[in-house]
């Protein structure tokens, strides 16, 4: 019995070491002002699955994506899923206006100096980061087309099942 436990623990430690070198890594924490006026910190969503969507009002695909994510959020919010849309627009009112036009109800944040975008290596838009309940980055998805919405839905469902 004890031998089994020791073997199990060794395997666990090895797995932990391997995991440390794997792609999953802790999502950099940040606090940003939302279009609603309140400040939002990523780490306060620990325990929920978070989809960070980096976007800008001039990006057409981003607008389609934000609309689709509204549907995704409405479906899975009660299961512990949240969308945080991080706007890389130069002015917060541009982000607020677009979000209002699209009828977005989830938090829309403004990354004023682009610091958070740099932290997450955002080099294209839309750029989506899927974060699990432990606060680790699990998926990074670049680009978006309306007919690819299911791919995003599947990733979220996989995480919700864990």
């Amino acid at each position: 019995m004890k031998l089994k436990f020791v073997v199990y623990l060794c395997a666990l430690l090895t797995a932990m070491q391997a995991a440390a070198g794997a792609e999953s890594f802790a999502a950099p924490d940040f606090v940003l002002k939302s279009t609603g006026g309140e400040n939002i910190r990523l780490s306060e969503y620990r325990g929920q699955i978070v989809m960070l969507s980096f976007w800008a009002s001039w990006c057409g695909d981003c607008r389609s994506q934000l609309e689709d994510f509204a549907e995704l959020r409405a479906r899975y919010r009660d299961s512990g899923f949240e969308v945080l849309a991080v706007s890389l627009d130069t002015r917060i009112d541009q982000a607020a206006e677009t979000a209002a036009t699209l009828g977005i109800e989830y938090p829309v944040l403004h990354d004023a100096g682009g610091l958070v975008g740099r932290e997450y290596d955002v080099d294209t838009m839309p750029f989506v980061v899927l974060i699990d309940r432990e606060g680790a980055v699990r998926q990074v998805l670049e680009g978006y087309r309306r007919n690819r919405a299911d791919e995003f839905f599947d990733h979220v469902r996989d995480l919700l099942r864990e």
Binding site: V6, N39, I40
Partner: protein
């Protein structure tokens, strides 16, 4: 620093495990006719309980080790003779909704902190936040703190407070306190040194 901490923790965890491995060799296997099944079950339950206790002990050791390493790291990075720490606290907060604090030391930005609703709530309930810790040489220094938020009648509010202080040999602790001035129905921002 983190990798050193991890290595030390792993080594620490491995020590008792090595001991367990020896124990395993020493424990005889059950004899084929070594008593009734209920006695065997009881023995197994005992073993599981002992293992649980050992796991709990290991967890506690890891937590203690982590704490000690954190303290050691703090002492190394911010030695007592150069350490300056700045704290934020709030009292009541009826006339001021805190949004952010900017701290400058000798005209240099050292901290800029945005507060979430939860953090403000924690401050109002008596929490004290360390907004900055760093090193400064002994002598005269000036601290400027700028508070932004929502003032009375939900107006945008921005106020500054400053303090000139003498940094001596020991660590210096400074507290930025936001409180309500009832008679003027205004918030009050106080910067004070801890002795």
């Amino acid at each position: 620093m983190r990798s050193i901490r991890m290595l030390a923790a792993m080594a620490w965890l491995a020590l008792p495990l090595a001991g367990n491995a020896q124990d395993v060799d020493a424990v005889p296997e059950f004899a084929p006719d070594g008593g009734s099944s209920s006695a065997r079950q009881q023995q197994q339950t005992e073993e599981v309980r002992t293992l649980d206790e050992q796991v709990q002990d290991l967890k506690k050791l890891a937590v203690d080790l982590n704490r000690d390493l954190f303290l050691l790291e703090e002492e190394l990075l911010f030695p007592a003779n150069t350490q300056v720490a700045i704290f934020v606290s709030m009292d009541v907060g009826e006339f001021f909704g805190l949004d952010s604090v900017e701290v400058q030391l000798d005209n240099k930005d050292v901290a800029n902190y945005l507060y979430t609703a939860r953090e403000v709530d924690a401050l109002i309930r008596g929490g004290v936040q360390r907004v900055f810790v760093g090193n400064m040489k002994a002598g005269e220094h000036e601290l400027v703190a700028v508070f932004t938020g929502e003032g009375p009648h939900t107006r945008d509010y921005r106020r500054g407070a400053s303090l000139s202080f003498e940094k001596g040999i020991g660590p210096k602790y400074i507290e930025l306190t936001i409180s309500d001035r009832e008679n003027k129905l205004q918030p009050e921002f106080v910067v004070k040194e801890w002795e």
